[in-house]
Amino acid sequence: MNPGLVMYDEEYRQIAGVCDRLTRDANAKVVFLVDKNGQLISASGQAQNLDTTSLASLTAGNVAAMGGLAKLIGEKEFPSQFHEGERESLHMSIVGGRVVLVVIFDAKSSLGLVRLRVKKAGEELARIFDSLAHKQAMPGAQSPFAEITDDDIDNLFSE
């Protein structure tokens, strides 16, 4: 089976730093990062009132569907997408082939600015995810769940 994604404190701080900066530099309302399977990795900006879990799942579904469409017409993938709403717009881009960077913005920003800032942030994030993948592949890196017992699992279901 494919190994899962593991996020460590150090990389998480770096990623949150990049997303916070992107929120400011792009005048965005919210920036979030989702893995391609729909797990939310990080959210910056005015994310408090948003259902980020649903956003993450739908983002992944959308990117997966667009990826399927891309393959049907002979493309590898569509690396970025833009959806323009009446007030808010949404920009999605695939970073390092494995995560999706989503920027939500309104009239205070513009597609041009968002694209420009996303490009730089995307490169930084790709580097962090490379180092994360490297760290995960190192011998000795193991699941924190390696030490749980069957009782631990049973207890979760014993209400």
């Binding site: 089976m1 494919n2 190994p3 899962g4 994604l5 593991v6 996020m7 460590y8 404190d9 998480y12 701080r13 893995d35 391609k36 399977n37 729909g38 797990q39 990795i41 259902d51 879990t53 649903s54 799942s57 739908l58 579904g61 997966a64 569907a65 990826g67 399927g68 193991q142 699941s143 924190p144 769940f145 390696a146 030490e147 749980i148 069957d150 631990d152 699992i153 049973d154 207890n155 979760l156 279901f157």
Partner: protein, 195 residues
């Protein structure tokens, strides 16, 4: 593909409900949603057609509690069961940690069950998974209907590997949580083994 986050002390896993059209995948999720306390669940999303057939997927995030200080979260998905939505089914299996196969117990749906389980095997293989190795549970749904196959017959056809199996009546909840608990347990046991 689980996601372990040391920073927020969370572990996220993905479970997919698979099966032929109208077998009760969405109904399983709806029952879980209805019977779970608000603090343990997120919003349920259904991307469905106007006639309430699943178009892309249903999604329900659940929190199960903590293991060794890690919050365990399960993301439940259903696939669209209708045969022609195969491209969508493949996408939803990406990154799956465990699968529930919901079989329709009615005799006339046996062929659809068999076709769906074969389709599951093929689509999993395309993603690099082996149905014989992935955490997997079978549910025989619609046990309340008159024209149903015996459990022995269903087992022989759909569960030759003898994975955990449950009889269910999804609208009233019979077997629904047993099925979910069984697959969640298998997923965690697999994680423990470092899968």
């Amino acid at each position: 593909m689980s996601f372990i986050n040391y920073s927020s002390r969370e572990i996220n896993c993905k479970i997919v409900y698979y099966g032929p059209g109208l077998c009760g995948k969405t109904t399983n999720l709806q029952y879980v949603y209805a019977k779970t306390s608000p603090e343990a669940k997120g919003k349920m999303i259904s991307l469905a057609t106007e006639t309430e057939r699943t178009l892309f997927f249903d999604f329900l995030p659940l929190s199960l509690g903590e293991i060794r200080g890690f919050k365990t979260r399960f993301h439940l998905y259903t696939v669209p069961g209708q045969v022609f939505y195969d491209a969508s089914r493949k996408l939803i299996l990406k990154g799956v940690d465990g699968v529930v196969f919901v079989a329709d117990s009615q005799i006339e749906r046996m062929e659809a069950n068999l076709e769906s389980v074969e389709n599951l095997r093929t689509n999993l293989a395309e993603q690099g998974y082996d149905l014989d190795r992935i955490p997997y549970v079978v549910q025989y749904n619609k046990r309340d209907l008159p024209n149903i196959a015996s459990v022995e017959e269903l087992r022989r056809l759909l569960n030759p590997r003898a994975v955990p199996e449950y009889q269910a009546v999804a609208p009233t909840g019979v077997g629904v949580f047993d099925t979910l608990k069984a697959v969640a347990k298998l997923v965690l046991t697999e994680l423990k083994r470092g899968g």
